[in-house]
């Protein structure tokens, strides 16, 4: 057990170091900060002086160690475009992205699971075929197109929902939330639906496949033979056993949601981290890119690690196999 946890931890640290290294290389080889700060006309002495002041003349490993040390404290320097501290920019934008991603995940679960159960139980019926086709379209439609279509229908034609920004937000300490105002909720509807469509289709298809698999097993037949009602068999026995993979996938997809929020945030001008990142890519704003990259990697690595450990805790077979393999 300990060895397993340790190995996973080491793997996570290696991934994080690799990402940090990529971010560091970005700083190292893209653009010259000395020229940026002093302009083209500075003398050689001025350049050398500044280079020494900034610690840019230190050997490579020392610079990298310094970079990692700063990154651990959330310090990535100033944004080249906005001239503000990157850490501050990220902290401001973080709540918007998290609220959007979590809302999308909730929608995907609340709609996806029931639809998956329905299409599995009523297999071959007209309704379930319609939903299966729709889910295929949902997987094929690019996220940004869904967003644009929703804007066209609900914001332009019917004029019932706003199409950009977060609306009124309330600050609670450093966290800003749009969930406490009606205006905030209205602004959240379209982006959250846009972001959830792909995950919704995925969860629905997953639940359907798992349900069909489980319904074929012996213990379901046995439950029926005992004379349990359909309801008890479907929801008490079948659905419960399909939920473990569903929860795993949803957990893993949470990271994907945060990443895909880049697209949704661009379509709806949602003031989150994704919008910040995409503007950074357009203007080659390295510090912001590097910080976003490290943060996203941290989120992904943490989620993957948590899921791995949960799996281990939930599934006793994994433990036994490992013990058996050790002997």
């Amino acid at each position: 057990m300990l060895a397993f946890v340790l190995r996973r931890l080491i793997q996570a640290v290696v991934v994080m170091l690799t990402v940090a290294f990529i971010a560091f290389m970005l700083f190292q080889y893209v653009g010259d900060p000395v020229t940026n700060l002093l302009g083209q006309d500075a003398t050689v002495e001025q350049r050398e002086q500044l280079r020494a002041d900034l610690g840019l003349d230190a050997p490579f490993p020392v610079q990298f160690a310094r970079f990692v040390g700063n990154a651990l404290q959330g310090e990535f320097g100033l944004s080249l475009r906005q001239g503000r501290r990157v850490s501050q920019l990220i902290v401001e934008r973080f709540p918007a992205t998290i609220e959007l991603s979590l809302s999308a995940a909730v929608i995907a679960l609340l709609v996806g699971v029931p639809l998956g159960v329905y299409t599995a139980l009523r297999r071959g019926s007209f309704g379930s075929q319609v939903w299966m086709t729709l889910s295929l379209v949902g997987v094929s439609l690019p996220t940004f197109l869904i967003g644009i279509l929703l804007i066209l229908v609900f914001a332009v034609i019917f004029k019932v929902l706003p199409s950009f920004g977060r609306g009124d937000v309330v600050s609670i300490g450093a966290w800003t939330t749009g969930l406490l105002t009606l205006d905030g909720w209205k602004h959240l509807v379209l982006p959250a639906i846009t972001l959830s469509v792909f995950q919704l289709a995925l969860i629905m298809r997953l639940v359907r496949a798992e349900m069909l698999e489980v319904l074929r097993t012996d213990y379901i037949k046995f439950a029926r033979a005992r004379g349990l009602s359909d309801r008890a068999v479907y929801f008490g026995h079948a659905l419960k056993n399909t939920l473990v993979p569903v929860i795993t996938i949803t957990g893993l997809q949470l990271g994907a949601l945060i990443a895909f929020a880049i697209i949704t945030e661009t379509v709806f001008q949602w003031p989150g981290m994704g919008l910040l990142f995409i503007q950074a890519v357009q203007f080659a704003d390295i510090p912001v890119m590097a910080a976003y990259l490290c943060l996203i990697a941290l989120i992904f690595v943490s989620i993957n690690l948590a899921v791995d450990l949960l799996y281990f805790a939930v599934d006793p077979r994994l433990r036994i196999e490992r013990v058996a393999a050790a002997h």
Partner: protein, 312 residues
């Protein structure tokens, strides 16, 4: 007297194709036929855009601002000269669609080709060499797979932009193709590695080794043809993915240069005019994109089932 036995006539390639299981399964799958018709139509429109398109959207001399923002022909105010209407600069949407899908298809196909090359090469190497090389390549795959492809593509694209700040347009294309290709190779590498490890221990490979065939030759001439089946299916499905990734990157403003707009760029341009009611500028490129992606996806699904012996 010895009579020369007539060698059995080898059927022509065409005859063998018509007689094959694949063709049979194709003729009995309406989905596959509809999907391939649509895909072919899109391909023809894209390939022959120069000759088919009613206007040349990039020829500034033919553009007239008086024709700007005309609705499609069947809506009042539209003219039959511009069947699907015009955009803000008076460019014909239909022609822009044809030229745009050419760029989308080109980037999609080129990046899939590149990622197949990288993925198959590394997969063969990993499966054949084993050991530390295998371990290293597979760890890289694990790391890449744990991040969504769009993020990796964005990162590589951003890197390319930062490295060549005043790049030429052709370079922008290469950066884009590279960015998409470098996110896609992982799946090929994993598939090929898996099948290579199975094939490696089969008798024909051992036989080839015993008679002294060089390892590289064994790798490419003997093992490679036997592991390509799944790659073909995967590549078909990935074309749709690559086209959508390209459209997404262009939509985000970090894809193809604006002077040669792909479908994603057209959608991006059109989004600004959504609120003034000119929906056609963005909706038609969107429909085209979905048509291409959906038909390629359906073809890929069919191909997977048709080539899977367990489903016969």
């Amino acid at each position: 007297m010895s009579t020369v036995l007539a060698a059995p006539v080898k059927p022509s390639r065409w005859a063998r194709f018509v007689d094959s299981d694949l063709w049979y399964s194709f003729r009995h799958s309406p989905t596959a036929m509809v999907a391939s018709t649509i895909a072919l139509l899109c391909l023809v429109c894209a390939l022959f855009a120069q000759w088919i398109a009613p206007h040349n959207p990039f020829d500034l001399a033919t553009l007239d601002l008086i024709d700007a923002r005309l609705p499609p022909a069947w809506i009042e105010g539209g003219s039959t000269k511009y069947l699907l209407g015009t955009d803000d600069q008076g460019r014909d949407i239909l022609s822009a669609l044809m030229y745009g899908s050419r760029i989308s298809l080109f980037v999609g196909l080129a990046s899939v080709l590149l990622s197949v090359l990288i993925g198959v090469g590394l997969g063969l190497l990993a499966g054949f060499a084993g050991g530390a090389i295998d371990g290293f390549i597979m760890r890289v795959c694990d790391v890449m797979l744990s991040f969504p492809s769009i993020l990796v593509a964005l990162l590589i694209d951003g890197l390319g932009r930062a490295l060549f700040p005043n790049a030429h347009e052709s370079l922008a294309f290469s950066v884009l193709v590279f960015a998409i290709a470098l996110t896609g190779w992982v799946q090929y590498a994993r598939t090929v590695r898996g099948s290579t490890m199975v094939e490696r221990n089969k008798e024909y490979v051992q036989a080839a080794r015993v008679i002294g065939v060089a390892p590289l030759r064994v790798m490419f001439r003997h093992v490679l043809p036997n592991v390509l089946g799944p790659v073909l299916v995967l590549a078909t499905i990935q074309i749709a993915g690559a086209i959508i990734t390209e459209a997404t990157l262009s939509f985000l403003g970090v894809g193809v240069p604006p002077t040669s707009p792909s479908l994603g760029t057209l959608i991006r341009i059109g989004q600004d005019f959504l609120f003034s009611g000119e929906w056609w500028i963005t909706v038609f490129p969107g429909v085209m994109l979905v048509l291409i992606a959906l038909s390629v996806n359906l073809l890929g699904d069919w191909l997977r089932d048709a080539l899977n012996p367990r489903l016969r």
